[in-house]
């Protein structure tokens, strides 16, 4: 893979990352807090691509004038004027290690020949894959398959004092919040309030539909499900991965997740409706 091709790949990768982070696509894969870093990294990749192309396409003229690879001299002077603001302009012509200047420049003049074939990383071709993944495929957020593979995430934290639920009837809570209150506080802080939560449908261990939502701490590779059993008006006839908004009350029934032997709290469903995939698919 030669330098121009590398520049194109960097441009594509940077473009794909920027596109994913200015739309909401990135929320399927990582936490919201990463957005500024993603944009900055994408811009840097684009800058690296542009600078590579700039240096690749520009020095053709000076080298044609001095085909023997005149050390320092004309190409370096020309580049000194071209470097961007981040580079100390005065030092750009100075070679830190004078002894290495001559031979290095000599091989640099020859790199059009063997440099491309041997010194450029062929493994870089693989970077097309994440570009395709982001631009062409854009896989959906983790869903019921991943939820079935992993045990429910609520098994360790033993917090017991929960603040009272916010105002509202029904009150909007996250699946994670409801499940922790139901499990560790045995529903005391929920009382008989009506709660409304949004998650996707997955098939539980007993074949019944359960409500699940994935929790991320960093990226989808560490995504873990929070699972809720459903009783009462259970959403029926929906395929896995359908997103629903359910309204209901606390139920003291508990199930067990066979995957990691952790307890799964239940929700007494009063009503439910199908909703589109939310902008933030993870809790």
């Amino acid at each position: 893979m030669n330098r121009q091709a590398q520049a194109v790949i960097l441009l594509l990768l940077g473009g794909a990352v920027i596109r994913a982070s200015v739309t909401d696509l990135y929320l399927r894969y990582v936490k919201e807090g990463l957005r500024p870093f993603l944009i900055a990294a994408g811009l840097l990749l684009v800058a690296a691509a542009i600078m590579t192309l700039w240096y690749e396409l520009r020095p053709a003229a000076p080298r044609a004038l001095a085909p023997t690879g005149d050390p320092g001299g004309a190409p370096a002077g020309g580049d000194g004027a071209a470097v961007d603001g981040g580079v100390p302009a005065g030092g750009s012509v100075d070679v830190p290690d004078v002894g290495a200047g001559g031979p290095a420049d000599g091989s640099g003049a020859g790199h059009d020949g063997h440099g491309h074939a041997h010194h450029e990383p062929r493994v870089g071709w693989l970077l097309i894959l994440p570009v395709l993944g982001l631009l062409l495929v854009a896989p959906p957020a983790l869903g019921s398959y991943a939820a079935g593979q992993a045990g429910t995430a609520l098994s360790s934290q033993q917090q017991s004092d929960y603040p009272p639920l916010p105002e509202g009837d029904p009150v909007q809570v996250s699946v994670l919040d409801y499940a922790s209150r139901a499990l560790f506080d045995r529903g005391t802080s929920i009382g008989d309030r009506r709660v409304q939560l949004t998650g996707f449908i997955a098939t539980g261990p007993d074949g019944q539909p359960i409500l699940a939502r994935m929790v991320l701490s960093c990226c989808a590779a560490d995504g873990r499900p929070v699972k809720l059993g459903l009783t009462g008006d259970v959403p029926a006839g929906l395929p896995d991965d359908s997103w629903v908004e359910v309204t209901g009350r606390y139920s003291d029934r508990l199930g067990r997740d066979p995957v990691n032997d952790a307890e799964i709290p239940y929700l007494e469903v009063e009503s439910w409706r199908q909703v589109p995939v939310p902008k933030r698919p993870y809790d």
Partner: protein, 357 residues
Amino acid sequence: MTTDTDRAVPGEPGGRASAGGVDTGTRPPDPAGAEPPRRWLGDRIGSVEILAALLIILIIFREPIAAALDDPRVQTWTTVFVSIMVQAVPFLVFGVLLSAVIAVFVPRSFWAKALPRHPALAVPAASAAGVVLPGCECGSVPIAGSLIRRGVTPAAALAFLLAAPAVNPIVLTATAVAFPNNPEMVLARGVASLIVAMIMGWLWLRLGRTEWIRMPRRPELDDASRGRAFWAAVRHDVTHAGGFLVLGAMAAASINVLVPERWLQTLADNPWLSILALALLAVLLSLCSEADAFVAASLSQFSLTSRLVFLVVGPMVDLKLISMQAGVFGRRFAFRFAPTTFVVALLVAVGAGAVLL
């Protein structure tokens, strides 16, 4: 797959390589490289043309490709793979940027002044330097490569490589948040990781051979124009380390999809087996060191010591790191360094768990 690391001739016998530096630039030009490679159709079809053709084909066949990805397993694999890459890209890019600054703008004399002269003392100094650099492991590999290139003794650079992702403030804070009821976990993780980094640095001083590290020759770093050298370093490191990151991410995504958590349940009951199982899981999952504490917290069926092993091994040895190290330092290095680090990290973490947890 790799660059010229495999075909590089050994450093000059008894030459300056024995001074602790690694021979990167003085390789005599090999005869094969002197003549330009034969290309079919002259110079017409290069990488750019292949790339363009590939992209056009992929866009044309977009529908069948999307249909093939419809299986939930393949879909989950793709999601996990893309998300590992998206998560790692900022860390990779900033690590590469820092390593390019080190390679191009920081003079060699700076490291001679900044680090203790004696290599055995430079190791703890470099490990401690890892504490202040918030980053994850994807960024620290190219940084360590640059340090070695700039004449830092490999022992110190390797100690930095191991310590930086494991003991920086972000990672320790994440650990504290993930284990609210076990604050001793933070201490145990920090202490054990520092000890492993220093042991590995000292082990390298005693047993390491500089010829194991084969860093590709990088003539562009000596370019007369620093701007050109800087961007050449960025371009090279992103495609090189990034390519190996893709390999590692694919492996980690496969493990993530193929190994169901149920299997772990049966291992958790045996204390010794559980330690070994979580150590291997840390290698296979290749989680970002900023996230692994949360995963460890969710593996509640396992003992605290085995979860400490998971947290100490993970940032130091995992699939994507082995892949990146093989690319940056050469395969002979990676295949010796990674297993040794694994064993040392496992033993130290078990010891720290016995004392502190």
